[in-house]
Each structure stands twice: as structure tokens, then as C-alpha cells.
């Protein structure tokens, strides 16, 4: 297990290097002159002298490899430059907004798991009867609901009509309810389908029959022999739609005035604040890779077979 973590953390280095190079290239090849945007945001009229000065200040007059190298050297010391808009260090901006996003995504993930596992299991146990039909119907409809639209429907119901929940901002648990519902519905539905399918597969296996024949009480059979096996594909899948969940928070934040990283990114896009954009994508990569590592650790913890697989699989990744 410790080796799995160490190897994956070591791989994070080259992966970030590749992503940083790609990001740098894309931004430099992208449209426009960052110096122009810098002047526009700073409110300086773009005369030739001012442009030259801005290019010198931003280091744009140096050769590209040199620019990349100095940017990388700064990034290695966690210095991602300063926001064109606020003038504050990018890292400060991102760290200021990251906790809100992580809170929203984290609680949404917990809600997803807490509801989808029992619901999926219940549907599998009552196959083709009404709980199963209801769960399947809900899952089919639920994956089709746009999260930002769901957000508005919730606001209509809970804030406008009933007046129970605040429509905007971040504060106590009342502020969490609607954003979490909006973010998690889709993952919840996908997961319910997966748990159901996985549980059905496990229920048909001989070791479950044997456990029942041994006279184990049903709850014991379910928790020990069905659930644990059924959770393996679910954990793998969670790693995959974790990205969807994080992406979902980006949109939902804008509805509820949630002061997270999605709002920071959208305003950076509108202002063409390239340093913030660069820092955003790099940090999201780190966050996502770490989340996936956590998912893999959870998978290895549930399924001992995966531990060996993860160990044996490492040679594929290393040269």
C-alpha cells in the first residue's frame, strides 16, 4: 500500500510537468497579446511605449524556452505570478477560493455515496418489483437534468415558494442543501445504476448462495458478501465521475453565489486573466490526481486483489 502511494506521488511530478508544458504552449499559441490584456485590465492606454514596457515587465520579450523555464522555476517554488486584475499572488487567490469548492464537492460526494449504495442495493434485492422500477426510473431521469437548471428549480421551490432556505451565499448547513443537491444528483443516479448492476452480479454468485446455505443471517450475507464485492466497481467508477462532480461545482457555484474556484475561473476567463487561468488548471490537476489516488487507496482497501494488481501494474507506468 505504501508503495502504491509513493509510486503514484512520484508519477505526479512528470505528469504535472507535461500538463504545465501543454498549458504554457497553449496559452502562448492562443490568441492575442497578453501584454495588451494586461494594459487593458490595468487601465493604461496601449501606446507603443506602454506595450514595450508591459512586455518587459511580463517577460514576454524573452525567448519562449527561457520564458517557460523561468515560469517553471517560479511555479516549483509555488509562485504562479500575480493576477492581472487584483495584483495578488495567484496562489493566494486560488487557496482563498479552494476550500469552498472542496467543501461543496466533498459533501456532494458523501451524499452521493450515502444514498446511491442503499438505493442500488435495495433495487437489486427487489429486482423488477416496484423499488427497482422506481430506482431505475429516477436514475434515468436524474442523469438528464442539467445541474444549473436543477439549481434554479430548487431555488424556486425552497426559497421562492416555501422560503425555507437562503438562495445565495455560503454559511451554515442551510446554505449547503441546495448546492449539494444540484451537484450530486447526476453522480447519485449514475452510482445507483452501478450499485444495482454490481449487486445483481454478485447476488448470482455461488459464494453468496453458499453463505445463505450456511445459514448466515441475511444482513450478514448482504454486508459481508454482497456489499463488499459490489462496492469494488463502484469505487472505480467514483474515481471516474469525480471529475464530473468537480466540473459540476464550477457551474453550480455561479447560481448560488458560492465563493469557490469556479467563480474565480469564470471571472478570470471574462477578464483574460492568464496567470489565474494557468494556476487554476494546474491546481485542479493536482486536486484531481490526489482525489483519484484516494479512490485507488479505497479500492485497494476494499479489495485485496487490487492491492496486488496495483503493485504488479506499476511497471507498466515506469520506463
Amino acid at each position: 500500500m505504501r508503495r502504491l502511494i509513493a509510486v503514484r506521488l512520484l508519477l505526479l511530478g512528470p505528469m504535472l510537468l507535461a500538463v504545465s508544458l501543454a498549458v504554457f504552449t497553449v496559452l502562448r499559441l492562443g490568441r492575442g497579446d497578453p501584454a495588451l490584456d494586461y494594459l487593458r485590465i490595468s487601465g493604461i492606454p496601449p501606446s507603443d511605449a506602454a506595450l514595450l514596457e508591459a512586455r518587459r515587465l511580463l517577460g514576454l520579450d524573452r525567448p519562449l524556452p527561457e520564458q517557460y523555464w523561468s515560469w517553471l522555476a517560479d511555479a516549483a517554488r509555488l509562485d504562479f505570478g500575480r493576477s492581472y486584475v487584483t495584483g495578488r499572488p495567484v496562489l493566494d487567490e486560488i487557496l482563498h477560493h479552494l476550500p469552498a469548492t472542496l467543501q461543496l464537492a466533498g459533501v456532494s460526494l458523501l451524499v452521493t455515496l450515502a444514498f446511491s449504495v442503499p438505493l442500488g442495493l435495495w433495487a437489486a434485492l427487489r429486482r423488477d418489483r416496484w423499488p427497482d422500477r422506481v430506482a431505475r426510473g429516477l436514475a434515468f431521469v436524474g442523469v438528464s437534468v442539467p445541474n444549473f437548471w436543477l439549481g434554479f428549480l430548487l431555488v424556486l421551490l425552497f426559497s421562492v415558494t416555501l422560503g425555507w432556505l437562503p438562495a445565495m451565499g455560503r454559511g451554515g448547513w442551510q446554505h449547503m442543501v441546495m448546492p449539494v443537491l444540484a451537484v450530486s444528483l447526476m453522480s447519485l443516479c449514475i452510482n445507483t445504476r452501478l450499485v444495482r448492476a454490481a449487486a445483481l452480479e454478485v447476488l448470482n454468485q455461488r459464494h453468496v448462495l453458499y453463505a445463505r446455505l450456511r445459514g448466515l443471517p441475511e444482513h450478514r450475507v448482504l454486508t459481508r458478501h454482497v456489499l463488499r464485492n459490489a462496492l469494488v466497481p463502484v469505487v472505480t467508477a467514483t474515481g471516474m465521475h469525480l471529475g464530473e462532480l468537480l466540473g459540476g461545482t464550477m457551474v453550480v457555484e455561479s447560481i448560488f453565489g458560492w465563493p469557490g474556484i469556479g467563480r474565480l475561473a469564470v471571472s478570470a476567463i471574462h477578464n483574460r486573466d492568464y496567470p489565474v487561468l494557468q494556476g487554476f488548471i494546474l491546481l485542479m490537476t493536482v486536486v484531481f490526481v490526489l482525489c483519484n489516488l484516494a479512490v485507488d487507496i479505497a479500492g485497494a482497501w476494499i479489495d485485496p486483489r487490487q492491492r496486488r494488481l496495483a503493485m504488479g501494474g506499476r511497471r507498466e507506468f515506469l520506463p
Partner: protein, 283 residues
Amino acid sequence: MTLLQAGMALRPPPGLRLASVSALLLAGLMLFGPWLAPYDPTEVALDLKLMGPSLAHPLGTDHLGRDVLSRLMAGAQVSLGAVAAILALVLTLGVGIGSLAGMAGGRTDAAIMRVCDAFLTIPTFILALFFVGVLGTGPANVVTAVVLSHWAWYARMARALVAGLKRQDYVLAARVAGTGRLMTVVRHILPAVLAQMAILASLDIGHMMLHVSGLSFLGLGVTPPDPEWGVMINDARAVLWTQPVLVLWPGLMIMLTVMTFNRLGDGLRDALDPALQAGGKAP
């Protein structure tokens, strides 16, 4: 007619039939929506703003007095057209690059796959957000951004399929018989790959729809006077407290589209998978 009869003889389940009809209607809207719309979708009439449903305006008017039904119909062209364009581009790029990697093998394969890995490391929507930031806002850039964030999934799958298929006996036989490399790919490998890609694509249409409308909703896609479903939801948020029904329609259209193509994708998978499992698996 024979095609229709053949289709009926298969006796698809009612849900699938409904989805097919709905897909045809959506395609019709995409192609002819702006011409079928009863009013000009961008015509502002402030004296008619926020009217409820009436005979003249079945779904009422929005905060600028524009006819909601016309905006929905004309918006279909932008929303669905963007998805169609993304689909075509992603399939071309993904299958092209994936097949190249699968056929070439060796270093080319490894290099292409590492690039894919870099793209797959980052969640698609976040990657799309980043690309919009680089390219700038606007519908064409949203399309490009979604294509750039999705292609690697298709490339990886196409590569895996091609790498498996190229060792199949019938492909080797074609090669031994003197068929050129390109011809072998086009005649013998791509047809099998495309069936599998069609399943992936039809299940992904809903995803793309949600990403496009999400980006538009954030104000990064279509610019305001033009109708688009995500933009319409964003427009409706200003009058959410006074005219809540306006937020309903565009969301329902997005939902209907996603449901339709998810159901079609499921049906397609059920219909095509057994055949593929028999013929398309690597030895």
C-alpha cells in the same frame, strides 16, 4: 419503406420507439427551427414583456418581450447544432488519431497515448473551461473547447479497438492478399471500430449537450441577443422571482434531448454489442 418495415420487424421496446421519434423531431428542429418559429426570436417588444401564455404567444414572452416559443425553436439550431458539430469533429479527430496510434504501434503509439493521458488527467468540463479561457468566449470557441476536452476519450478507445482488430485473421488475410495499409484500415478495420464508436458517441451526446449549455449558461458561449437554451436559462434567472415559468422551458428541452440520446445509446448498445462481442474482440 423497406427500412421502416425492417425496423418495425425488430419490435423495439416502446421507450426506444419514443426516443427515435423524439430524436427525429429534435433533428427537424435543429435543421428548420428558425424558419418554423412563428416570430423573430430576437425581436424586442418592451410593451409585451413578461406576458403569460396566450394564443398569440403560447409560452408567453420573456423580459424583453421576445416570444419564448420562437426562441426555444430557433435556439434548438444553436444548441443542437453545436452538439452535432462537436460530435462530427470529435469522431473525426478521435478515430483518426486513435487509428493512427493503433496501426503504427511502437513509438508513435506511445507518444500519442502520452498526449492523450495528459488530456485525460483533467476532468472534461474543467478542461473545456480552460480552453474557453484560452480561446476566448463565443459559440465557435465553445465548440472547439468541448472538442479539445473530449477527443482523447475517443482516441484511446479507437486505438484499443484498432490495436486488437489489426491482429485478427481476416485483417491479416487482407494484408497477405496484397491490400495496402490505408485500404485495409478503411475497408476492414474502420467499419468495426465505427459501430463501437457510435455507441460511445450516442451515450456521450447528452454529456456534450450539458457541457455546451453549461458553458453558455456561464455566459461564455452564445452572446445575448441570439437564442440558445443555456443562455435562455441565464436570462430567466433575472426574473426568477417574478416569472419563474420562464426558466422551465429551456431546461426541459435540454433534459428531453439528453434523455432521448441516452435512451438511443442504450438501445444501440443492446442491439450492437452481441454482434461485436462475437466478431470484434481481440484474440
